[in-house]
């Protein structure tokens, strides 16, 4: 009964986007709307002596100006949603992140004043008249340097700038002992550089306080409107939640950066209450560079030990993780529970210890960015194992096959329990790599590489990964420090005519939920796809939601929908049984109708739904209506995996590296819409490859983001890539009803180390035995590596 599931159904949401009818936050105009511009600190670390707004106040069109001093002390700022404790049990340092700075600016872009005027232009013009007098202080931007004695302090109450330290796994001494007796130890120091998410839609927020209804509305470019509402109401502004509506209309990409509750959202709402007018704030790209939460930024030392056979015996990973100046919503979870817990990878490593020091620096906040922690973990493991293969003169694929965890389906065989606190659901790792090698034509490539002459160096790099998706199980995440449950809700409302409205808490901003979810609903209910409407993104229409992140929408949000469908069909069967004068046990449901087994007596879904709302002839004791809500809280994360292969060609004279081929074989569990899954993989690959080759934020020693525009921060373009070669294997998730795992981040998790490994392979085969080339691997860096 899969008319839609497994098919590449064309997206139902596309029409509005290809005709220019999409409605993003900045497209919304409200009567009487005024515009906000936020004046931001040009300095990374300074004391604000005074702010003079007199001239700006009387500038043309100015409605109001607020500074930190105008915001009541009770409004402390935006909260952090995840608590990680120090090794000694102390609670992490969580300094306030104020809506507007009162005394001290801590990164370039910290908000100093909000200027509200009748037009954007007037707000911007007036901002130039605000006179802020600063006292400058030294800044620190590197996460490791920040923890050294004498480094400039970001917050007075966080000594050595340490937000928390943390470790997981086997005792350090055991790991050290295993490493000491290993036949070979590969050690690597590397930087997983800071990334800027760069969703194409710059962030935007409209706050509107409606005096007539005493109600607040916030339109915002968010991945999870309900979470924003919860945080803003309960922890920031102290507003009654039932009087607040948060809408995430069409959102132009998120990649993690729109998960978090940002100060601008709370600011426009608070200001709107003060002036009783709707206020729109939309950031310029320059502002986005400075204030969208960044990603990655780890400085790591890691050691992997092997026995004489090439079996991994131990792993020690020590990481300094940059938090930026403040703890963003999920920041503490990223280097810890989304990174440390993944260091088992798909290998049988018996001893693992991971040690993380999270530090504050005078930089913008760092939080989840596509993959969040898992790309860093994969990078660590896959760089080490590829490098080890070079050092031990083994084939990198052979070394992996040797160390893979044997297949387990989570049903017949137990889930795999790791040394770092997780139990994988199901996995079958060898076939993805085998398939990738077939696609590459591995032996032929090695032959070609061996025989290469001339002015180019060929290299091949591998990466195999396992990741954790479906960030949800509330009991698990609660034990790990999440301050909220991470379930999902769904309501399936059958209309009297049999049309179905589905309300999901999983917001869609490019993932195609309106299609994928509809496929699930249509197939499960046996009705045409056109009869299903997926509604998301509005806290007034969707009862509740935890939002879209961590590749969780289908596994968690989709499962919640399935639960509601089951309830609908269960009640529908009772009505059908009544109409057919049969017992529910005697009914079969298929293709939109209930049939009495072994007869041709049947009743259609539409008749049942009409009966539910026009219950003239109706089962006794049954409530009218056909409308069910569910909350789904899964038993475990899901664990997709895959194998990625990059082939590069280096120009010996210039170091310019061309990505010639990229092969990705991913196993994301069952697939509802292959076209959409492939699209998710493609996008992830581009971002992961972008990190390896092109992207990376650069702060100078004074804390200035010196590549804060598209003229210097290199966004990947179409001609930076070849066509991607993707395929998949299918190992269903054993614990959710759809058997799905999640596909949103896979491409971004697997690809980065594959590309770096390919460059290192090319260099070694060309006689340059370097351990690392810093990302992004610019031509100059690769060229420099060849000069040694």
């Amino acid at each position: 009964m899969t008319k839609y599931i497994g098919k590449s159904v064309k997206r139902v949401e596309d029409k509005r986007f290809i005709t220019g009818q999409g409605k993003y936050t900045d497209d919304i105009k409200m009567p009487g709307m005024v515009y906000a511009y936020i004046l931001r600190s040009p300095y990374a670390h300074a004391t604000v002596n005074s702010i003079n707004i007199d001239a700006a106040k009387s500038a043309e069109g100015v409605v109001a100006i607020y500074t930190g001093a105008d915001i009541p002390e009770a409004i402390a700022g935006v909260p952090c949603g995840w608590q990680v404790n120090f090794k000694n049990g102390d609670i992490m340092k969580e300094p306030p992140h104020p809506l507007l700075v009162r005394k001290k600016v801590r990164h370039v872009g910290d908000g100093v004043a909000i200027i509200i005027a009748d037009t954007r232009a007037n707000a911007k013009d007036a901002s130039e008249l605000v006179d802020v007098d600063y006292d400058l202080h030294d800044a620190v931007t590197d996460p490791k340097a920040a923890a050294q004695p004498g480094a400039p302090l970001v917050h007075a109450d966080a000594p050595n700038n340490i937000a928390f330290d943390w470790q997981l796994g086997n005792p350090k001494e055991e790991v050290a002992a295993a490493l000491a007796s290993a036949a070979h130890v590969t050690e690597l120091d590397f930087v997983n550089q800071r990334m800027i998410p760069n969703a194409m839609e710059p962030r935007s927020a409209i706050g509107h306080y409606d005096t007539a209804y005493d109600k607040y509305t916030l339109y915002t470019s968010t991945q999870n409107p309900h979470l924003t509402r919860l945080l803003m109401c309960a922890f920031v502004l102290g507003l009654p939640e039932h009087k607040v509506r948060v809408v995430g209309p069409d959102v132009g990409g998120g990649f993690g950066s729109k998960i978090f509750h940002y100060i601008e959202e709370a600011l426009v709402v608070w200001c709107s209450k003060q002036i009783e007018l709707p206020i729109k704030w939309t950031c310029d790209r320059s502002e986005a560079f400075l204030t969208d939460a960044h990603g990655r930024d780890h400085v790591t030392n890691a050691k992997m030990g092997f026995d004489a056979d090439g079996k991994i015996v131990a792993l020690q990973a020590n990481t300094f993780a940059n938090m930026g100046a403040y703890l963003s919503t999920f920041a503490p979870a990223v280097p810890t529970y989304l990174h440390g817990t993944l260091l088992q990878g798909l290998y049988t490593t018996p001893k693992i210890n991971v040690d993380v020091t999270a530090t504050f620096t005078h930089t913008n906040a760092v939080d989840a960015y596509r993959g969040a922690g898992r790309p860093e973990a994969t990078f660590l493991l896959e760089r080490l194992i590829d490098l080890a293969a070079l050092e031990m003169e083994m084939d990198p694929t052979e070394l992996r096959f040797k160390n893979f965890i044997p297949a387990f389906d989570g049903v017949e065989q137990e889930g795999y329990v790791t040394q770092v606190a997780l139990q994988y659901d199901s996995g079958n790792y060898a076939p993805v790599l085998t398939r990738a090698l077939e696609m590459v034509g591995y032996e032929a490539f090695r032959e070609e590489q061996k025989n290469q002459k001339g002015d180019k160096l060929l290299g091949i790099g591998f990466s195999t990964y396992v990741e954790a998706c479906g960030i949800a199980p509330s009991a698990v995440v609660g034990a790990l420090g999440a301050r909220a449950g991470l379930f999902e809700s769904a309501q399936v409302r059958v209309q009297p005519t049999g049309k179905v409205s589905v309300y999901t808490g999983s917001h869609s901003h490019g993932q195609g939920h309106e299609t994928t979810f509809a496929q699930v609903v249509a197939d499960r209910m046996g009705i045409p796809l056109e009869d299903v409407e997926i509604i998301h993104g509005d806290s007034d229409s969707v009862a509740f939601g935890m939002g879209t992140y961590g590749s969780r929408s289908l596994a968690v949000g989709g499962s919640a929908i399935v639960k509601s469908i089951d309830k609908v069909l269960e009640k529908g069967a009772k009505i059908a049984a009544h109409l057919l004068e049969a017992s529910t046990d005697d009914l079969d449901y298929a293709e939109g109708k209930w049939t009495v087994k072994g007869t041709d007596k049947s009743v259609g879904f539409g008749d049942v739904s009409l009966t539910a709302y026009v219950p003239h002839n109706y089962p006794e004791g049954l409530e009218p209506g056909l409308d069910f809500s569910s909350f789904y809280d899964p038993a475990n994360f899901t664990y997709p995996f895959g194998a990625h292969v990059a082939i590069v060609e280096i120009d010996k004279e210039t170091g310019f590296t061309k990505l010639k081929r990229f092969i990705a074989v991913d196993d994301v569990g069952n697939v509802i819409n292959p076209m959409i899954v492939d699209g998710q993989i493609h996008g992830g690959l581009a971002q992961g490859i972008g990190q390896a080759m092109l992207e990376g934020a650069i702060y100078d020693e004074t804390g200035q983001l010196i590549n804060g525009s598209y003229m210097d921060y290199c966004m990947p373009r179409a001609d930076d890539f070849p066509s991607f070669e993707v395929d998949r294997t299918v190992t269903p998730c054993p614990h959710n009803p759809l058997g799905v795992k999640g596909a949103g981040e896979a491409g971004c998790i697997g690809s980065t180390p594959a590309v770096v490994n390919a460059v290192i392979d090319a260099l070694w085969k060309g006689g340059h035995k370097v351990k690392d080339v810093k990302m992004p691997m610019t031509p100059e860096r690769v060229w420099t590596a060849m000069q040694g």
Partner: protein
Amino acid sequence: MANKISVTVNGKQYTGEVESRTLLSDYLREDLSLTGTHIGCDTSSCGACTIHIDGKAVKSCTMLAVQADGCEVTTVEGLATNGNLHPMQESFKEEHGLQCGFCTPGMMMTATDFLKTNPNPSEQEIREALEGNFCRCTGYHNIVRSIQLAAKKMSEAV
């Protein structure tokens, strides 16, 4: 300073006053409420705001509204004719050339201009033609496929 301008946008004539400094992208979005033209950057890099002036692709954020005086402007809202999607629009849907949809109008406007001068491009030529348009969702893979399909459809239609 206010300037009187008269422009034809998607076949409809508009006359009004604009400040000298008003960018064409802002005029289209704010004055004409044609919000399909998106603004994704401030350095004339991303191409989300690409429209056609007298049939040629231009980044509308890098042109003053007053410069469009007397011009024929086509935005994404004008790509379909008489309710029929343009082959480029059909192809983006068929080949899954969009995800979040934000860069899509600009992509399609650039691509339609490109196919006028190069109706039968190679994959590499298509990739190079997109130099001025950023997409963060698709990895460009299916955008390239979409433009290939559109090229095929458009050449068959001729």
